[in-house]
């Protein structure tokens, strides 16, 4: 049975169509969740895609987090629904408080669009469980604010609870612990800076992203924690 995935669109989001195309190519169904909507309808998992919600003005995700759809997504996530935030989506999730920490400007103070080698760390999240710890993935990044920060206490918790999903092999942006992606404690909310939808075809140089997005289809997504 094909999965029904909701893809969130804020004004300024720009990776929604790429995410939808990828989900469809993988055999899933996708529908747009408009930022003004106060329900997620009948979707079985949610992607918050990349882009520049509300222009990223003030701070990435700062305005987007007040959208009606975010209230609905919080409800969905709190009842165990799987939510994957990619890039700007990750930033929105940290601003909303659904994921710990924050994303600040890259250490080199430049936007970076390039392929990165990622290493799977914890496999305990809804997405991580499709991988083996230590596996390497080739997935590009595309961000200015991807430098993950959190307090030392939060860092200890992330490590202890197996919340660190992905690390960069060679840290491009200064993230603490080379963190490229994390999950919440329950594992149903995942945020990552790299763009899996951009690594989905031989013509694009890598297929590793397909496995991340396919993970959204697997198992009983509502009760996997």
């Amino acid at each position: 049975m094909s999965r029904h995935i909701g893809v969130v669109q804020f004004p300024g989001t720009n990776c929604e169509q790429d995410s939808i195309d990828t989900i469809k190519n993988l055999g899933g169904q996708a529908e747009i969740l408009w930022h003004g909507s106060d329900t997620v309808g009948s979707v079985e998992a949610i992607v918050i895609p990349g882009g520049f919600a509300h222009g990223d003005y003030l701070r990435c995700g700062a305005i987007a987090r007040f959208s009606p759809i975010m209230t609905a997504i919080s409800r969905f996530a709190n009842s165990g629904g799987v939510v994957l935030g990619i890039c700007n989506g990750f930033q929105v999730l940290t601003e909303t408080g659904l994921l710990p920490g924050a994303l600040q400007k890259n250490v080199g103070l430049k936007f970076l669009c390039q392929m990165e080698s990622l290493i799977v760390d914890s496999t305990s999240s809804a997405i991580g469980k499709s991988f083996k710890s230590g596996e390497q993935l080739q997935i590009p990044i595309n961000h200015f604010e991807g430098n993950y920060v959190c307090s030392p206490e939060v860092m200890c918790e992330l490590e202890a609870n197996g919340q660190i999903f992905l690390r960069y092999e060679s840290n491009p942006n200064g993230s603490i612990g080379s963190i490229a992606g994390i999950s919440n404690k329950e594992g149903n909310i995942v945020g990552m800076m790299p763009h899996p939808e951009r690594a989905t075809s031989v013509l694009l140089g890598s297929m590793d992203g397909n496995r991340i997005l396919s993970a959204l289809f697997e198992g009983n997504v509502k009760n996997n924690s």
């Binding site: 004004p11 300024g12 720009n14 990776c15 169509q17 790429d18 195309d21 990828t22 882009g51 520049f52 509300h54 222009g55 990223d56 003005y57 430049k110 936007f111 970076l112 669009c113 390039q114 590009p140 595309n142 200015f144 763009h195 939808e197 951009r198 989905t200 075809s201 031989v202 013509l203 694009l204 140089g205």
Partner: protein, 744 residues
């Protein structure tokens, strides 16, 4: 008031000549008022009217069966099959970028994108040919860094990938950077819309940002009423345009949605000359007139005067012509995208552009719409070949000092990834070959369904001020060939060209000669490659303290890869390949004029270009594109700046593999920039077949050596470790631009 307007100092301050002013009086049959004069002055400016270049542009080839829309519209459009059309355009934002590099570049990107979605196309690619003063000049670095950040900041955020471009540093651009921006978009062929207003009673709706005093520039002299030079007008000083990619993104989505729904009769972006241009252009193209209500325009600042509103260049605005019955739907779409929509006018039948104070209010300007365009002056300015031209041509630019070839080579290597990794170059999942190789190659997908067509679009932008300074005609021919060769390296055959003519002061006869020569060279090459010109832009007055920039025509070529199943091989070589150069044969004593070597190492700006065989280049390009399409080579790279030695080094660096080569014994053979040549790396067992094929296709070949090892060796003149080569290539830009910059 009218007295002051007849006073020559008034219209001259607006940039109008006596002759031009008289023409306005004749056209109107009376003395123009403030507002009317402002409107004529912006529309008849060089920037909007092309008055100095028009006579020359007419000589460019513009037709082919696949050309749907040629020059003259907002963008050129070609038919790429399967019911898909491609819109493409290039523009310059040179002067704004010199003042505020970030915003100058940002608004350059914003402006060219509107040209594309005005045609009903979704923009899917931007390219940015950039030229700055020397890297060791802090101010030039400040401009470069600001411009690159501006392209990145705006392009990434608005959500259009920047997939290629150029970056050049040279003394000639010290006070006058060149910031050109190309954009390309796709649309279902049947949805093509043109910028015209027809149908009496239809409404003109202004969408997008509120209007401020942005970019009012020259016209702002009108602000100091009566032109009393002592009046303090500091609070009305012309202000710099600031880009808002978030507004543009919403505007883009709203416009495409209402075009998709068939709600627009016509649509036009607001660029140079703002509302004046958009209203008069839509009206006169549609053979109609328009009543414009100045009061209906949402303003960012209170107390703006009518001439300010009519000439403001505030960004992120579009004018849409709508049938009254569709207005509600248009407003609903703009509301959902949080875009301001003001009904600012209605289409009339009398051909007049009437500006009113209130919807049915008094008329404050009344101009025959078409006169703003059709009656704009057209000049055949005097042109003159430089007096020392022949003498300079006779100089042998290759005679200079006996230099150290290894250090020459290292000096000329540059990795531009510091620039393009700041650009999102992957959005929309089309980028098969992005920036950093020869041409860019994008998957061509159906804009209606997203389905792959199995084909690809190749794109490249190229300019070369050194070649064009030495010989504007032949140099322009060579740079068109270089662009074509770049896309051949990713398997594409050329279909169309856009161009940006960046030149100095057109009142200098030598500059007009350069432009005229460049146009002829471009015309010849575009005809030879069957890649007609579908659009372009002219940027004149690129000068600092009276010194003109070197002539810098820039072209963008787009072409088709007919069967895109695997990515092209790219320039990186691997072990065990035979290295072969294809194309025009080079004589031992080849001319070095205009080469990077002559210019930057031998410090010689004279001489002549190497012989260039255009017909041979046509054959070579099509042969190379064929090889790539059939996947029969393992590496491919065209020869450009720095000649063969640089091209070969780049292949070694990118493939992290050494080479042992022969046959290039001196600086002429190493570094000459003879056009139309391509280096390939071929598996040994395929070499014989390839040589046969090349012979049959009439393409000369020469085997240079083999790949392998960790050294880059050419005969006994060059022997450099791959590490050293790579380091020299990689570090130039980060070292220079990482140092920090200052604005003055």
């Amino acid at each position: 008031m009218s007295e002051s307007l007849q006073n020559p100092s008034v219209y001259r301050a607006l940039g109008l000549s006596d002759e031009e002013y008289n023409r306005i009086e004749t056209l109107l049959g009376r003395i123009p008022n403030h507002l009317e004069l402002a409107m004529y002055s912006v529309m008849w400016s060089e920037h909007c009217s092309y008055k100095s270049s028009k006579v020359h542009l007419k000589r460019l080839p513009t037709e082919a069966p696949w050309v749907l829309v040629g020059p003259g519209e907002n963008a050129g459009v070609i038919d790429v099959g399967d019911g898909i059309a491609v819109a493409i355009r290039i523009e310059s934002h040179n002067h704004p970028s010199a003042i505020e590099p970030y915003q100058g570049a940002a608004t350059g990107v914003g402006g060219i994108l509107r040209d594309i979605f005005t045609m009903g196309a979704r923009p899917i690619a931007v390219m940015d040919p950039l030229r700055f003063g020397p890297l060791d000049d802090p101010h030039s670095r400040w401009i470069a860094e600001g411009v690159i950040s501006g392209v990145s900041g705006y392009g990434n955020s608005v959500g259009v990938p920047t997939v290629g471009g150029e970056i050049v540093f040279d003394e000639t651009y010290r006070g006058n950077p060149l910031v050109n921006v190309l954009a390309m978009g796709v649309l279902p062929a049947e949805r093509l819309v043109l910028g015209q207003a027809s149908g009496m009673g239809n409404l003109a709706v202004l969408l997008g940002s509120a209007t401020g005093r942005d970019g009012i520039g020259g016209v702002s002299v009108l602000a100091s009423a009566g032109f009393d030079e002592n009046t303090d007008s500091s609070d009305k000083r012309p202000s710099v345009q600031v880009g808002d990619p978030f507004e543009e993104k919403r505007l883009l989505e709203a416009c495409l949605e209402l075009l998709e729904a068939g709600l627009a009769v016509g649509i036009q972006d607001l660029g140079g000359a703002g509302l004046t241009c958009a209203t008069s252009e839509t009206a006169s193209r549609g053979g109609a007139g328009m009543d414009v209500d100045i009061r209906a325009v949402s303003l960012r600042e209170v107390d703006m005067e009518p001439f300010e509103i009519m000439t403001s260049e505030s960004q992120e605005r579009m004018l849409v012509i709508v049938e009254p019955c569709n207005l509600a739907k248009v407003l609903e779409i703009s509301d959902r995208w949080e875009v301001i929509a003001d009904v600012v006018g209605k289409v009339t039948g009398d051909g007049q552009l009437k500006i009113r104070d209130g919807f049915d209010g008094p008329v404050i300007a009344d101009i025959p719409a078409a006169t703003l365009h059709d009656d704009a002056p057209e000049y055949e300015r005097p042109l003159e070949r430089p007096i020392d031209w022949f003498e300079r041509q006779r100089v042998d630019a290759g005679l200079a000092k006996n230099s150290d070839y290894e250090s020459d080579l290292l000096f000329m290597l540059r990795d531009s990834s510091w620039v393009y990794r700041q650009y999102d170059h992957q959005l929309f999942l089309n980028t098969v070959v992005g920036p950093g190789d020869d041409g860019t190659l994008l998957r061509l997908r159906d804009p209606r369904t997203g389905r792959e067509t199995g084909r690809g679009l190749g794109m490249s932008t190229d300019g070369n001020h050194r070649w064009c300074c030495v010989d504007p005609r032949a140099g322009t021919k060579m740079l068109v060939a270089e662009a074509v060769m770049n896309i051949a390296c990713v398997g594409a055959n050329p279909m169309a060209t856009v161009n940006c003519l960046n030149f100095g002061n057109p009142e200098h006869p030598v500059v007009m000669w350069q432009m005229s020569e460049a146009v002829d060279g471009m015309a010849e090459a575009c005809i030879a490659f069957s890649a007609p010109i579908v659009g372009g832009n002219v940027s004149l007055y690129n000068e600092t303290n009276g010194v003109d920039i070197a002539p810098t025509p820039v072209v963008g070529v787009i072409g088709m890869h007919p069967s895109l199943n695997t990515p092209p091989p790219g320039m990186g070589i691997r072990n065990g390949l035979t290295i072969i150069v294809l194309g025009q044969v080079v004589e031992k004593n080849v001319a070095m004029g205009g080469s990077r070597w002559a210019w930057d190492i031998a410090d010689c700006r004279d001489g002549c270009l190497p012989e260039f065989d255009l017909d041979q280049a046509v054959k070579t390009a099509s042969f190379v594109a064929g090889l790539v399409q059939k996947n029969s080579v393992s590496a491919v790279h065209d020869v450009g700046e720095g000649g063969l030695a640089v091209a070969l080094s780049e292949m070694a660096i990118r493939g992290a593999t050494g080479m042992t080569l022969d046959g290039l014994s001196d600086h002429r053979l190493l570094f000459n920039e003879t056009g139309g040549r391509v280096v390939i790396g071929v598996e040994t067992e395929k070499v014989n077949d390839l040589l046969e094929e090349a012979k049959a296709a009439g393409v000369p070949v020469e085997t240079l050596g083999f790949s392998g090892g960790m050294k880059f060796t050419i005969g006994d003149v060059i022997d450099i470790g791959l590490d050293e080569l790579t380091e020299a290539w990689r570090t130039e830009l980060p070292d220079a631009l990482g140092q920090g910059t200052v604005s003055a």
